[in-house]
Assembly symmetry: D2
Homo-oligomer: 349 residues x 4
């Protein structure tokens, strides 16, 4: 591909973990060129000062957002903190496509947004055109979108197996329990006491029980699949690993349905998908089997409680749960082969 | 206390992690003396060859089981692998009290035992007198017992909060889901590929889903509490920490009951207990807050799913989940103050 | 011991890790009572809000330093950040004994202090009476001291094996290389990017190479032992564990000396010491064999390079490297048995 | 590249970590095809049974070594355990090129081999033609070799910075101290007590002090560089991470040389090398900055001890320390661009 065909890509907020992960993946993309990077605190410095592991790459110097040459980009990844993003994106040139990795455009209903985020949405008009982009579930809409709201990590892990089950009417949509376990990178690179090595190592705890902001995001997807209002239990846990999410969903089978039916429905839904793999009935996945990759693994097991099943899914929260899915969406939006730059195998051990 | 009053204690199988943990705790016990240690592969050696961190203690040399001077003991801890224990204990002198840390005497029903362990029970008569010893739930029986079956780690973490709720009829006993997360020491010190650092670090996976041997043990306790046959979902996960179990139980409230009622019922049940603490409603515990101690922490949160609650409990699997509870039971059996040697605070970080 | 005989103990700066560790140890001390705790940001709250693992203990409410009832204490542990401590201690009543866990009074020479800490010492008069308290090396002075400067973690691990060797003239004091590896708790509980789980897990790096403030502290001790100015190489590394320091010292033997001589000299120096153990020649210690305890383990191995030896020592940085040694010093200062509250065995795994 | 141009590659011993890592890298290689995989215990099974993270790749079924179609391969990677390899390789067809990841052909001198490995070399003739393949230091010989002995992980990390210094006569070759720290994957996937999570997590220890088999391998390289017999101190430590080696070398400057000279000599030696990067003087690398990549980072710092410097290097032991360098050597041997399949950036966090 000649330079004139290259997709010029910018990253707003390149000094966080999702920014670094975008760079890691894009470094292997043959038809994009990173032309703009912002990082407020590190403006004026090379990215290698912030992320030494990327110092050897040929990349633009970090700038402040206000100095970013946004109109020299064909597509911009927005990896800014939640809440600051709406106005920034509203101000971008209309011809630039956007994949937003924040939570700012994920909830279709701005009232729900206001309820969970504590302030009115700042760009309600733009919200209307935003496409919620779990690629496998919204490929066509993503292909036409100017603005894709890249899904949260937990919601990606939870919805991929559950949406097909709710759609197919195989499970009781009013009795879905999602017990999720996440690595620490989901909390970002901000210096917080709760993310210190000493506070996280050698232990586990639940947090945001019945109050985590990813609950309405999951409910939005399942509500659409069910065609009626759905609420779920969502209980995240923080555990000592850097990457990975494992979601253990406990579901009640609709009359006549078996665990095997669930497994098959999910497998059928994702047949031919390059990034979703369903294990044989009774087998369960491990987060370390997707580490560093854009893969999702899903396993289904029949429960000891009659009429119940366990549905387990794993992703790498920084890849399929963030930057990998963002690149996947970019590929779709730009008409590139969807798997470009995303075929590197998982890294184990 | 003079030497003649000392309780002479032996440990069969002292070269595993629960053996080491017994020694760690007993080293601070003012009224016991360890007089016998066995460890087949290390017979003839000091314990310090097996556990260098204990090398400085004045302890008897390890012997083979057949050479163990069992009648010079007042009480024996049996920390042998599951399955080998029944005959060994059946052969012990009748005047010696026994706390068995294996699973061999935990299931009252020998048919259930045969079903889950794949062979007939070798000591069915002895099984009849065995007391299942979650100390807080069976104190009086433990006090009179000759043989205490020390509970499994997961069953201890699960039953402590759930038994009072089932007893009180506050939750639907047919809809109990227990998602548990454990550190690696629960797998013992045997050299297994699945317990290697490289296989466990930086990841999580479920295992024994709908087939773990601790399920019938939990069900036995809840069945007794309910007065009718109970089955539960029990889904354990292996995660990268050495110690600790966190059990997240998802329960359905009986009509009229609230999460606050659950919290209060548990708190009332354990009022005055030195080793069980119930957090204020809505607060949740972390395994690292009980590490190295005999404590159990319990938290209750109201669910987003109407009529449901989340009940989280944490223990150190090697202490309250094994050797600590064993010492607690020993204290009760010997008429010693129950907290002796068990008052050291948790170690954090 | 009746209440009137109890030692009333205060802790300035109880909301850091060394503060928590002091509480953990003192909770098992039969003849002290904690009567005062300060924690500026958490003033007015119970310690359990800051350290939930200690919530069950009966302790005074945290206050601001200016509100601390310092004259109701017999002895005060000062666990404040480096640099803020000098004036605080200078202002304490003269009858109160002090163990200072900061670096503020460790360097006898206030010029060296100014050079390494970037500002003039604020209490040079007080500095003169401060006793540098590696207990085993300064027991008599500690016993008489009003103010003990509790040594740094690295300097404790390094000096314990090296001081006897320098004193005995067995090694070339001009060719001492100390490669040290530390857990993350040494960096304290402050929220710093470099201490995040994601930044520390699954990796290692050196830091403060040839510029770490513990170098002059080690040199001060070796200089005193040698009777002439000594400089050392000191290269610390940060690694993914919460507790523990391993110091690998590379030394050159003086003519005629062997590795066995080194081992014997160290063993002889610490004969009868309850907290220092020297392994047989050729054996090496692991940090996990001292975790949670006040022990130091030391091993000596002959090098492949002729005339050289390797001397390895391990401590728990929060115990013998901080709070444990502080309690040990307190015991000596108060005329209590030196091992009181410090006899709990290491915790492994 | 058409299929007929593809390099047909086999892996003997594909069920270990270096085997899995070869597959991970080769999966991104556009001009090789894996045509043969052996794995004795798993013979007859797909690789995905052994390594679920690779299950989705289209790969040949595992066979026993004796059933391997070795003559359908152009190049074979031998990842068998040390000691079993010599006879296997001696039996391979002469037209097949071999990269041996074991230690079996690394030592030129078969007497040295016998001394360190405890038995006579089984293929002394073959040993003569084996090229020791740190690619950057032996590129031309590798290009012409039929059999490349792929270097050990520690020796790669140690020699890359030290060989140029010894060659240039900038350091005293009789006073080289190498303190190395390794992740656990270096111990392989064998089920050993010492590699269990519980034995490795939260701790560090030295091992093989003055007796590790990588010492003669390092000495062989430095001896060649110096033109006279060299011995070194080499002290490896095992620490809780899966991947990574950090080597801290303490060196004595020859008269007139400065730390800056050392840094410049190394930088000059590796100018233009795609996989070796030298940091600015005074900066030090971290293992996590090379994780998953074939990179080596090197930093040089002036010591506090006059006339001394510290030289720190990091690699991923499974990539540049094993399978990555093996692929790099394969590329050179096959006349392919050296960086093919090796350009994926490090993975952090």
């Amino acid at each position: 591909m000649t330079a004139s065909n290259e997709l010029r890509v910018g990253i707003l907020g390149a000094s966080g973990y999702t920014g670094a992960e975008l760079i890691r993946l894009l470094a292997q993309h043959p038809s994009t060129r990173v032309t703009m990077l912002t990082g407020d605190r590190a403006a004026g410095k090379p990215l290698g000062d912030v992320f030494p592991h990327l110092a050897y790459l040929d990349l633009p110097i970090l700038t402040k957002i206000e100095d970013a040459k946004v109109d020299e980009c064909d597509l911009i990844f927005c990896a800014l903190p939640h809440g600051t993003t709406q106005e920034v994106i509203a101000g971008l040139p209309k011809q630039v496509k956007v994949v937003d990795l924040s939570a700012d455009f994920r909830l279709h209903n701005v009232d729900t947004y206001a309820e969970w985020y504590g302030h009115a949405h700042q760009a309600p008009e733009l919200q209307k055109e935003a496409v919620y982009g779990i690629t496998e579930l919204a490929r066509e809409a993503v292909a036409k979108a100017r603005l894709v709201a890249n899904p949260g990590c937990y919601p990606t892990a939870a919805q991929l197996p559950l949406v097909p089950l709710v759609e197919a009417g195989l499970i009781d949509s009013d009795d879905i329990i999602i017990d999720a376990k996440s690595g620490v990178s989901g909390a970002g690179r901000a210096a917080k006491e709760g993310s210190l090595f000493t506070e996280v190592a050698e232990g586990i705890h639940a947090y945001g029980v019945a109050s985590h902001r990813h609950a309405p995001e999951i409910e939005q997807g399942l509500t659409a699949a069910a065609g009626r209002e759905i609420r779920v239990n969502f209980t995240p846990h923080l555990m000592p690993m850097s990457r990975g999410i494992l979601s253990t969903a406990y579901v009640k089978l609709e009359k006549g349905a078996s665990a095997a039916d669930l497994r098959d429905a999910i497998a059928k839904r994702y047949e031919g998908e390059p990034f979703v793999r369903v294990l044989p009935l009774g087998q369960v996945p491990a987060t370390r089997h997707v580490r560093g990759s854009n893969h999702t693994l899903i396993g289904v097991v029949a429960d000891r409680l009659k009429g119940r099943a366990i549905v387990i899914s794993v992703i790498d929260n920084l890849v399929k749960g963030a930057s990998g899915q963002a690149v996947q969406n970019m590929n779709v939006m730009a008409g590139l082969p969807e798997t470009t730059a995303l075929m590197q195998p998982p890294m184990f051990p």
